[in-house]
C-alpha cells in the first residue's frame, strides 16, 4: 500500500473505533437498565407492576399505573398546545412570510431549544403556577401547568422540522396549485400539508419523545402526587419524576423498581423513535 492508502486506512479504523465506542455506551446503559430492573418485574409480575394502582415502596407495593397515566396526560396536553401552535408557526413562516423574516426567526426559534429545562420549570413555578391557582383553582401545581410548559418546550422541535419539511416540497406542487386557481390557504391545506405529511408527523413524534422524557421542569410544577388526577387542575406525577425524586435514597427492591420504570420509559421512547425513523424513510423513499 502507498503511504496515502495507509493513512486512509488508519483514519477509517480510528473513526470506526470511535463510532463503536459511542454505540457501546448506549448498549452498556441499555444492558444495565434491563439487568437491574427485570428481577423486580419478574418477582411481582408485569401486570401488577404496570397496572398496580399503589406505589408505596416501604410496603413493597410497586404499581406504576398512576405515573403511566400521569406521563400520558401531560404529554397529550403538551401536544394539544404544541401541535396547533407549532404547525401554525411553521406554515406562517414558510407560506405567509417573506424569506427575510424566516431567515431571522427560524434561528431564534431554534435557540429556544437550548434553554435549560430548569429555567422553564422556574418560570413555570414563579409565573404560571400562581396564575393557575388564583384564576382557575386548585393548588396550581397541576396537569395544566405541566402541559403548558411542556407544550412550549416542544415548540422548537415541531416548528423547526416542520419548516424544513414544508420547504422541501417541490416548488411545482405549489405553483401548479396556484396556477389552477387555488388560494394560498387552499394550497397550504390541500397540497403542502399532505406533501410534507411524513416530515410533520416525524416532528410531532420527536416532540412527543421530548415531552415524555422531560424531568426537571415537570418535578417543579406538576405537584408529584401519586394519584390519578381527576381534573387538569389536580397534581400529577410522571414516570420520569418518580425516578428522579426517589433514586437518590432508594435501596434494594425499591431501586430495582425504579430501574424497571426506566425500562418502561426506554420501551416507549424506542417505539416512538422507530416510528419516526420509519416515517422519515418513507418520505425519503418517495422523493
Amino acid at each position: 500500500m502507498t503511504q496515502l492508502e495507509r493513512n486512509e486506512k488508519l483514519i477509517q479504523v480510528v473513526l470506526a473505533v470511535i463510532a463503536f465506542s459511542a454505540i457501546s455506551f448506549l448498549a452498556i446503559i441499555t444492558f444495565f437498565i434491563f439487568i437491574e430492573g427485570t428481577p423486580v418485574i419478574i418477582k411481582y409480575g408485569i401486570k401488577n407492576f404496570l397496572f398496580g394502582m399503589d406505589w408505596f415502596p416501604s410496603e413493597k407495593s410497586f404499581g406504576i399505573l398512576p405515573m403511566i397515566i400521569g406521563s400520558i396526560e401531560v404529554t397529550v396536553g403538551a401536544l394539544i398546545i404544541g401541535i396547533p401552535l407549532g404547525l401554525a408557526c411553521a406554515v406562517s413562516l414558510t407560506e405567509f412570510s417573506s424569506k427575510r423574516i424566516r431567515q431571522i426567526l427560524k434561528p431564534v426559534i431554534e435557540l429556544l431549544a437550548g434553554i435549560p429545562s430548569v429555567v422553564y420549570g422556574f418560570i413555570g413555578v414563579v409565573i404560571l403556577v400562581p396564575f393557575i391557582r388564583n384564576n382557575l383553582g386548585g393548588p396550581g401545581l397541576s396537569v395544566l401547568a405541566a402541559s403548558i410548559v411542556l407544550g412550549i418546550m416542544i415548540l422548537p422541535t415541531i416548528i423547526s422540522i416542520s419548516i424544513d419539511s414544508l420547504l422541501a416540497v417541490p416548488r411545482n406542487y405549489r405553483e401548479g396549485s396556484i396556477a389552477m386557481g387555488a388560494t394560498q390557504w387552499q394550497t397550504t391545506i390541500m397540497v403542502m400539508f399532505p406533501a410534507a405529511k411524513s416530515g410533520i408527523i416525524t416532528s410531532i413524534i420527536l416532540g412527543m419523545g421530548r415531552a415524555i422524557g422531560e424531568t426537571m421542569a415537570v418535578i417543579m410544577i406538576a405537584g408529584n402526587a401519586i394519584n390519578i388526577p381527576n381534573s387538569i387542575l389536580d397534581p400529577v406525577r410522571t414516570l420520569t419524576s418518580n425516578i428522579a425524586l426517589e433514586i437518590g435514597y432508594s435501596t434494594g427492591e425499591h431501586r430495582q423498581a425504579l430501574f424497571a420504570t426506566g425500562i418502561v420509559l426506554f420501551v416507549i421512547i424506542m417505539i416512538l423513535n422507530t416510528v419516526a425513523n420509519v416515517m422519515s424513510i418513507k418520505k425519503r423513499g418517495r422523493n
Binding site: R133, G223, Y249
Partner: protein, 263 residues
C-alpha cells in the same frame, strides 16, 4: 512540527487535569436538607479557621445521606430523623435538636390545631378548611418525598401508623415546601423549625406554640435530632470537624440560628 506541538499541548492538558492540585483535604458532607443550611454555616466558619481544609456540603435528603455514608461517597452523612434498626451499625452523633413546625400560609385564619387534627388532614380524612372555621376551601396538603428525614420524623411523631394520603403534593426539600405554603393560601405542610421565616406561620399544637423554650421543656412534642452519621468511628480531619461542631463555638452558631444545642 505544528502537529507535534499540538499533541504535546493536548497531553499537557490531560496531565494537569489528572493531578490532585494543591493538597487540600476535603470533607464531603451529604444528606438532610434540614441540616444543610446549618452544616453550611459550620463549614463556612470552619474553613475560615483552617484554610487548607475544604468542607463540601450537599443536600439530597436524609436517607440519601445515609446511603452516601455507607457507600463511602460522603465522609459524613447528615440525617434529621432517628436511625432505623437496619442502619444502627453506623456511628451516629447527635449535633443538634430541631423542632418540626407545621406551617400554613400567613393569611390563614387557623393558628392552632391538635396533633390528632393534623393527622386527619394529612391522611386525607379532612379535606376542607371549613372544618376548622375557615372558608369553603380544599386543603392543599404538601409533604416531602419518602426518603426525607423530615418526613420520617413527621410520620413517626404525628402520623404513627397512618399513611400520608396519595393526593398530597410532594416536594423534595424544606425550601420548596416553605415556598409553596408561602404562596398558596390554602396549603399546609411541615418543615424544620430552624427554617421558619416570616412568610409562613407555624401552628401551635393544642395551644402550645413552637418556641425554643417549649421545645427544651418538652411541652412542644414534635422534636427530632440532627445526626451526623459516619461509617466507622470518625478519625483525623473528620473528627476535628465534628469536635468543632460539638464545641461551644459550633453549638453557639446554631443556637443563634434557631436550633436547640446538645449541651
Amino acid at each position: 512540527m505544528r502537529r507535534l506541538i499540538f499533541v504535546i499541548f493536548i497531553l499537557a492538558l490531560f496531565i494537569t487535569g489528572c493531578s490532585q492540585g494543591v493538597s487540600h483535604k476535603e470533607i464531603i458532607i451529604a444528606g438532610s436538607t434540614s441540616v444543610e443550611p446549618f452544616a453550611d454555616k459550620w463549614a463556612e466558619v470552619y474553613m475560615e479557621k483552617y484554610p487548607d481544609i475544604i468542607v463540601n456540603v450537599q443536600g439530597s435528603g436524609s436517607s440519601a445521606g445515609i446511603q452516601a455514608a455507607i457507600s463511602g461517597v460522603a465522609d459524613i452523612g447528615t440525617c434529621s430523623r432517628e436511625l432505623k434498626p437496619e442502619e444502627k451499625d453506623l456511628t451516629e452523633i447527635i449535633v443538634a435538636y430541631d423542632g418540626l413546625a407545621i406551617i400554613v400560609n400567613s393569611n390563614n385564619k387557623t393558628g392552632d390545631l391538635t396533633i390528632e387534627q393534623i393527622k386527619q388532614i394529612f391522611s386525607g380524612e379532612i379535606r376542607n378548611w371549613q372544618e376548622f372555621g375557615g372558608g369553603n376551601k380544599v386543603i392543599n396538603v404538601v409533604t416531602r418525598e419518602e426518603g426525607s428525614g423530615t418526613r420520617g420524623a413527621f410520620q413517626e411523631l404525628v402520623m404513627k401508623k397512618n399513611r400520608i394520603f396519595k393526593g398530597a403534593i410532594v416536594q423534595d426539600s424544606n425550601g420548596t415546601v416553605r415556598e409553596i405554603v408561602a404562596t398558596d393560601p390554602n396549603a399546609i405542610g411541615y418543615i424544620s423549625l430552624g427554617l421558619l421565616n416570616d412568610k409562613v406561620k407555624a401552628l401551635s399544637l393544642g395551644g402550645i406554640p413552637a418556641t425554643n423554650e417549649n421545645i427544651t421543656t418538652k411541652r412542644y412534642s414534635l422534636v427530632r435530632p440532627f445526626l451526623f452519621v459516619t461509617k466507622n468511628t470518625p478519625t483525623g480531619e473528620v473528627k476535628n470537624f465534628i469536635d468543632f461542631v460539638l464545641s461551644q463555638e459550633g453549638q453557639g452558631l446554631i443556637r443563634e440560628a434557631g436550633l436547640i444545642s446538645v449541651n
